[in-house]
């Protein structure tokens, strides 16, 4: 075997290994906050919320029934069905844990009690004091005799010493709550919470688990008029991840089909098309493998890279193939000839996409890196592999013919029609912009979500029927220790009282009563310790006062818990299943990660101002609404800054390449006109500006500017002859434009609303850019270079003769 052959085999094996290693590392991150600037306080707070309180292993199964009895029966059936699958479900909770095990609640009540101020607990001890216990019990009996509150009657019956009274007055936790997180008021809607048997390794595992759980649930209620819904973190992750996978595969496939169609229409050739497709697949696989090896998890935006990259890389293939049809020299000659164009366009495109890393938007940065890489790999593959193949086809048996569209682009009539069409389009779009104004802005959370989401529908159903907290702000307080969080919580409570007085907030539900205070716990536990020895005496007093033994259960359990915690390390956290259930969405206390969660009801319109007022270290007052408002305020400025930087970089590169102030001016004017027309088109089509549309502007700058650059380069090479430049590159620009528009346009059907908006905006912008570059830019060149109709007529005559 020759040495060259060995080297080729070795290179092939290495390439295969590279691809396999890269593709095996591809994973998705469905957190939409990963797309947004992490320096924004709202993003930081919501990320903390999702990471710590969204419960990645908890699936929420919703039940809609025609009557409350069916709903309750269905909830029971589901819980029983899941209990039979311990390999899938660790726990299926269909009713509050304290309803099935009331005694377990005493641990949490004791925890709340020992966190009370020391004087409050001293007051409780007074109630238990031998001298006062009889009076305390008599007062409780009077309460049971005359109270109108069913809660007070129920509670005092089981708590004759009033141990829980300060909890109600201190935190308001025990009062007035009639809502349930398990059932709607009318009982027609119920919820079962499922905890997965074990943590999930990746999204594929989640999707598989969810499918199995759905199958069991559907079978459990088969034949009944029950409608099930599935939501919660696992449902969202499975839905979004598989959606992203599907979006990436289908949009890439659709792009390839559309490109094939366009190529076939132009050339009617199968062999070069087959090779072109092979090159695109090679580029795609290498780019994806590179992304897998060097980039983090793919975000929902990153998933759109494939179709964009294919739509861009094919441009170089078109250019090479078109040039090869006329090229008379060697492969090297063709490569050198094409390199000049490809170098400029791929440099500007890659620079534009890599420049997205300058933005503070991680999702966009990722897309920029991936497409930038893809474009570079695409340029190398096309120049290095496709150019020799194109020449071999030309010199070999494969019949190569000029494009069927070549005569069209050489036709003056077509140029005139195209010019008038483009002028008409520009006039209509500008008029629309003047009359209807800029498109409306929409930065709401809905723009980040899947367009058709079963998980989201189930969640909204749950909000409607249980409790809608979407108007509230979540208060997230983090710290490196319990004491740091405690200090922050205390500071916040006093400031929040001021905010309520000032009219910025309506109410505040502080997690403070549920956050341990070491000093209080130490003193209260010590103060309550002697009570254990007096339990028999207290029990006798209760019985003598006319209560049953059952009435003493809570007192015995609480004092018993106090005794159990006497030797515990402080601070004490309640740990039994009921306590964990209550605290699971309110507090986190892993080593080095201490978080408390509260709720604030803001005065409408004051959400962001209130959030800003609490922007301190480790303190976040957040909501999706406030995030949208913050994005609306910060994103346009950010995008404008990055766009200006990007344009500056492109102009700098072009000033070296074109070395003509007038050409640079033409480029700038063309780009500005494209953007203004795009705004007009969006207004005409009723589209809105949002985070993704703004990102699309950056992509458009990176992609669409190629067309004007190609034409300006052609004009320069042809001594300013606009007709000749269009004849040579008109078809290439047409192919590039339609392919890239097909690539982006295929994203218009993506499941994610944002990705779809990005795709549509880019496709629209590219078509506008292509038309303006192809038909108006040459006219503007003539005008700016003082070439009037007469001289152009003379030149045409010369050309014709």
């Amino acid at each position: 075997m020759s040495r060259a052959k060995v080297l080729w085999i070795l290179a092939g094996v290495l390439a295969l290994g590279y691809v396999v290693a890269g593709l095996s590392r591809i994973s998705f991150n469905v957190d939409i906050l990963r797309l947004l600037p992490s320096h924004l306080h709202q993003v930081g707070g919501l990320s903390l919320f999702l990471k710590n309180f969204a419960l990645p292993n908890e699936l929420i199964v919703t039940i809609d029934a025609p009557d409350s009895e069916s709903a309750e029966v269905a909830a029971g059936k589901l819980a029983a069905a899941f209990a039979g699958h311990p390999e899938l479900v660790k726990a299926a909770v269909a009713r509050p844990p304290w309803e099935t095990d009331p005694a377990s609640l005493s641990e949490f009540l004791t925890f709340l009690m020992i966190n009370q101020p020391v004087p409050t607990v001293a007051g409780l001890l007074t109630n238990l004091d031998p001298a006062n216990s009889a009076v305390t019990l008599r007062t409780s009996m009077e309460t049971l005799e005359t109270s109108l509150s069913p809660q007070e009657i129920a509670l005092r019956g089981y708590d004759p010493f009033g141990l829980t009274t300060p909890l109600a007055s201190e935190s308001g936790l025990l009062g007035g709550a009639q809502k349930s997180e398990f059932s709607s008021g009318d009982g027609l809607f119920r919820v079962v919470y499922l905890e997965a048997a074990r943590p999930f390794a990746n999204y594929k595992e989640i999707a598989k688990w969810l499918a199995e759980v759905q199958k069991i649930a559907t079978a459990a209620v088969a034949g009944t008029p029950i409608t099930l819904g599935f939501t919660g973190e696992p449902a969202f992750v499975a839905e979004i991840s598989t959606g992203m996978e599907w979006d990436m595969a289908t949009s890439a496939f659709a792009t390839l089909v559309l490109i094939s169609l366009i190529f076939w229409l132009c050339y009617g050739q199968v062999a070069p098309l087959r090779w072109l497709m092979a090159m695109l697949l090679l580029t795609f696989v290498f780019s994806l493998a590179t992304a897998g090896l060097f980039l983090n998890e793919l975000t929902v935006i990153g998933a759109g890279f494939a179709s964009v990259m294919i739509g861009l890389s094919v441009d170089y293939g078109y250019l090479i193939y078109q040039q090869s049809l006329r090229h008379q020299g060697s492969v090297g000659g063709l490569q050198w000839q094409c390199l000049q164009n490809i170098a400029w366009t791929s440099t500007t495109t890659a620079a534009a996409f890599f420049a997205l890393n300058l933005s503070s938007l991680p999702g966009l940065s990722q897309l920029g890196s991936m497409v930038g890489l893809g474009v570079c790999i695409g340029a190398l593959v096309m120049l290095g592999v496709f150019a020799p193949l194109a020449m071999r086809m030309r010199h070999g048996d494969v019949r190569t013919v000029p494009s069927r569209l070549d005569p069209l682009f050489a036709s003056r009539r077509f140029a005139v029609i195209g010019t008038w069409f483009t002028v008409g389009m520009v006039v209509i779009l500008l008029a629309t912009l003047v009359i209807r104004g800029f498109p409306a802005a929409d930065f709401s959370a809905s723009t980040f979500r899947a367009r058709h989401s079963g998980s989201q529908s189930a969640l909204e159903n749950l909000y409607r029927k249980l409790s809608d907290d979407r108007g509230l702000l979540s208060l997230i307080v983090s710290g490196r220790s319990e004491s740091e969080v405690l200090t922050r919580l205390r500071d916040i409570r006093s400031r929040m009282d001021t905010a309520i007085e000032k009219g910025d907030a309506v109410s505040f539900l502080s997690p403070l009563p549920m956050w341990p205070d070491v000093e209080r716990q130490k003193l209260n536990l010590a103060a309550l310790a002697p009570v254990e020895a007096r339990l028999p005496e207290l029990k006798s007093a209760v019985l003598e006062a006319g209560f049953t033994e059952e009435a003493f259960g809570l007192t015995r359990a609480v004092i018993g818990q106090v005794a159990a915690w006497q030797s515990a390390d402080l601070p004490v956290w309640p740990e039994n299943p009921t306590s964990r259930w209550i605290l699971r969405r309110m507090a986190r206390h892993e080593d080095g990660n201490y978080l408390a969660l509260g709720m604030v009801e803001p005065v409408p319109g004051r959400e962001l101002a209130l959030s800003k007022a609490f922007e301190d270290d480790g303190v976040y007052l957040v909501s999706w609404g406030a995030l949208g408002e913050e994005l609306r305020r910060t994103m346009p400025r950010e995008i404008v800054q990055v766009s200006l930087g990007l344009l500056g970089a492109i102009l700098l590169i072009l000033s070296i390449g074109l070395r003509s102030a007038r050409a640079i001016l033409l480029f700038a004017v063309t780009t500005a006109l494209v953007l203004v027309c795009l705004a007009g088109a969006m207004s005409l089509l009723g589209m809105t500006w949002g985070f993704f549309n703004l990102a699309a502007v950056l992509l458009l700058l990176g992609t669409g500017t190629d067309y004007s650059i190609l034409l300006l380069l052609a004009l320069r090479r042809n001594g300013g002859d606009t007709d000749a430049a269009r004849r040579k590159l008109g078809l290439v620009i047409f192919l590039c434009c339609t392919s890239a528009a097909a690539g982006f346009g295929s994203l218009g059907w993506a499941g994610n609303s944002g990705l779809a908006a990005l795709g549509k905006t880019c496709a629209l912008g590219l078509l506008i850019d292509g038309l303006i570059s192809l038909f108006l830019l040459p006219r503007a060149w003539d005008l700016i270079h003082g070439e009037w109709a007469f001289t152009r007529w003379i030149r045409r005559k010369q050309f014709d003769s």
Binding site: L46, F49, F53, A54, I60, S68, P96, W98, E99, P102, L105, E142, L144, E145, T146, S147, L148, P150, Q151, I153, A154, L155, G157, Y158, L173, L174, G176, A177, Q178, K179, S180, E181, S183, S184, G185, D186, G187, L188, T231, G232, L459, L462, Y463, L466, S467, D469, R470, S474, L509, P511, G546, F547, T548, E550, A551, L554, W581, I582, R585, L597
Partner: protein
């Protein structure tokens, strides 16, 4: 945002410790409801009611039931006074503006607007808030009638509110009335955990003259909290 229940949601079930399963509700026919329909029709002519009652609270945590005497006045459409204890330890005054709960001994009062007054316990208030807005249709919409039994001129009804949130803590509501006079005889609410509150009415007078002063109370010197 992903679903996040509030504190109150999470802790809503804390108050009741042990609940038992509800027996399957038996079905009633339209014919069974005739006495109730007749009683509701009779209420249209009621302009005022005054009555005395004995309230018996039999709680699982008490060795023996607590009996308390009380008195009530009602004047259509929305005026009422309800007193528990003699002398009154709790007074509830209802006016078109809202409900005021008065604790004379503690010199304390709580005022609730009408929309929140619905949260007051129906059992404790006896006849003051009865399901339905005065029509059989409203009654049936709010209440599931489990059984209707007549003994002489007395009609005994067992029922449950259709509101699942309210019903989940109740075993049954027992209501008895006199079919001839339309007077209430008793109202008893039994919870799933086995406690009950029962009102036995006597000295019932319908459409008698009630002084307007009954529906007022001098709150001077009282600590008043508003909801």
């Amino acid at each position: 945002m992903r679903y996040f229940p509030s504190f109150q949601l999470v802790l809503s079930g804390i108050l009741l410790f042990a609940l038992t399963e509800l027996d399957a509700a038996s079905q009633t026919t339209t014919d069974d409801l005739v006495p109730i329909r007749a009683w509701i029709a009779k209420q249209a002519q009621v302009r005022s009611v005054s009555a005395r009652f004995t309230q018996t609270r039999a709680l699982r945590t008490l060795r023996s039931p607590i009996k308390t005497e009380g008195q009530l006045w009602f004047k259509a459409p929305e005026w009422f006074r309800w007193e528990l204890g003699d002398p009154a330890k709790t007074i509830v005054l209802g006016t078109p503006d809202g409900v005021t709960v008065i604790h004379p001994a503690a010199r304390r009062a709580e005022r609730k607007p009408m929309d929140k007054a619905g949260a007051t316990p129906d059992a404790a208030l006896g006849m003051m808030r009865f399901p339905g807005g005065g029509s059989m249709e409203d009654f049936v919409r709010e209440v599931q009638v489990l059984s209707v039994r007549t003994v002489g001129s007395q009609c005994h009804v067992e029922m449950l509110p259709r509101d699942a949130q309210a019903a989940r803590r109740l075993s049954v509501i027992k209501w008895a009335f006199d079919m001839d006079s339309g007077h209430w005889i008793s109202l008893e609410i039994i919870t799933r955990e086995g406690s009950s509150i029962r009102n036995d009415f006597y000295d019932v007078e319908t459409n008698g003259k009630i002084d307007k002063g009954v529906f007022t109370f001098d709150l001077s010197g009282f600590r008043i909290s508003d909801e």
